[in-house]
């Protein structure tokens, strides 16, 4: 059983998007949220940095994703748009390193939609289960 792959994932999420249900000290409080997904809250999805995304992958995360508010509702107007630009940039980097770009994604959701937040996490877990471990894992 110890050989069963469990993807390690980091989600960078806008604190406005998850304001009503995420306690960053107690992830298990989110009903149905999958194991192996670490939550990092940021002040806005547009605050996510390319360096942080790359560092997460470099240090062994099998996948990373960003969750922001729907574009038209972004508290900072263009935050979700910027987040998408940055994950697209990281996808291009991964492609050039012959690493699956699908290991990085951006999602948007209505503010406070806990069920959607859980659904996105499960989607990433499923995707990374299919892709398998990161080629950087354990190296």
């Amino acid at each position: 059983m110890s050989n069963v792959f469990k993807p390690e994932i980091i989600v960078f999420c806008c604190r406005y998007a998850v304001y009503n249900f995420v306690d960053d000290l107690d992830r298990s409080a989110i009903s149905g949220f999958p194991e192996g997904v670490k939550i990092e809250q940021i002040s806005c999805s547009g605050r996510v940095d390319v360096v942080r995304l790359l560092e997460a992958l470099e240090t062994g995360a099998d996948g990373v994703y960003v969750v922001g508010c729907r574009e038209e509702t972004c508290h900072n107007v263009v935050g979700s748009y910027r987040a998408k630009k940055r994950t697209d940039y990281v996808k291009k980097v991964l492609s050039q390193l012959s690493i699956e770009p699908e290991r990085v994604e951006t999602f948007v959701m209505s503010r406070g939609d806990e069920a959607k937040f859980v659904e996105m996490a499960k989607e990433m877990v499923g995707k990374l289960n299919t892709l398998g471990p990161s080629p950087l894992r354990g190296k």
Binding site: V50, V51, E58, Q96, I99, L136
Partner: protein, 222 residues
């Protein structure tokens, strides 16, 4: 400022492939402003190289550092005590910085991480355009402040060519015909008579045709 952009990742990986200890050296001058070679870009490139080496099982030790400028010897002096530790220095400065680095440290492998493009400015976030060709003998006083050398696709000196259509250049409709702009500006400034002036043949010897250029300011030299 000098505008540059990072070389393709594959080219950088190929350039650095044989080095185990690499110093990625950023510059806080122009290339920081145009987001090509400042502290942030140094970090990104460091991640990329480490990820590539990890994936391919080729160990690498990367040191990241950013100098105030790489085009002044006094800042490059700061590397004196440590430069021998590296198999290669991957400079994220413009070509000027790489040259200064190579001149300063002749026994060190100095590699460029950027392609230096032109002298220009930022029209909008993420968009840079050329404005000056560094011809060494500025004529902007005659052309309404806009340069036909840098901004005319053909570098014409004597008005638009036959390819100017509706104020756009035949080379690319996204390029404004600079001679149309020169005419419009001079007309607005009531200076169209400047276009009647017969100018002497331009001295290109003070441009790149005269070999590497040098300025000596006697009032400043010590």
């Amino acid at each position: 400022m000098i505008i540059a952009e990072r070389k393709p990742i594959k080219e950088i990986l190929s350039l650095t492939n044989s080095a185990r200890r690499i110093l990625i050296l950023g510059c806080k001058g122009c290339v920081t402003v145009c987001s090509a070679g400042g502290e942030r870009e140094v970090k990104i490139l460091g991640c990329i190289i480490r990820m590539y080496r990890k994936k391919n099982g080729k160990p690498v030790e990367i040191t990241e550092r950013t100098l105030v400028r790489q085009c002044d010897p006094e800042y490059l002096d700061q590397l004196f005590d440590s430069i021998d530790q590296f198999d290669a220095v991957l400079s994220m400065a413009c070509g000027v910085g790489v040259n200064f680095l190579a001149d300063k440290y002749p026994a060190t492998v100095c590699l460029p991480a950027l392609n230096t493009k032109f002298m220009g400015g930022s029209e909008a976030q993420g968009i840079w355009t050329e404005r000056c060709a560094g011809c060494g003998d500025c004529i902007l006083g005659l052309t309404g402040g806009v340069c036909p050398i840098a901004r005319c696709s053909k570098g014409l000196f004597n008005g638009p060519c036959g390819g100017s259509v509706n104020g756009k250049c035949e080379v690319n409709p996204d390029i404004p015909c600079i001679w149309q702009i020169i005419y419009d500006r001079l007309k607005l400034l009531n200076q169209l008579d400047k276009l009647d002036e017969i100018l002497p043949v331009k001295d290109w010897s003070v441009s790149s045709h005269g070999g590497p250029r040098k300025i000596v300011r006697e009032d400043l030299t010590i």
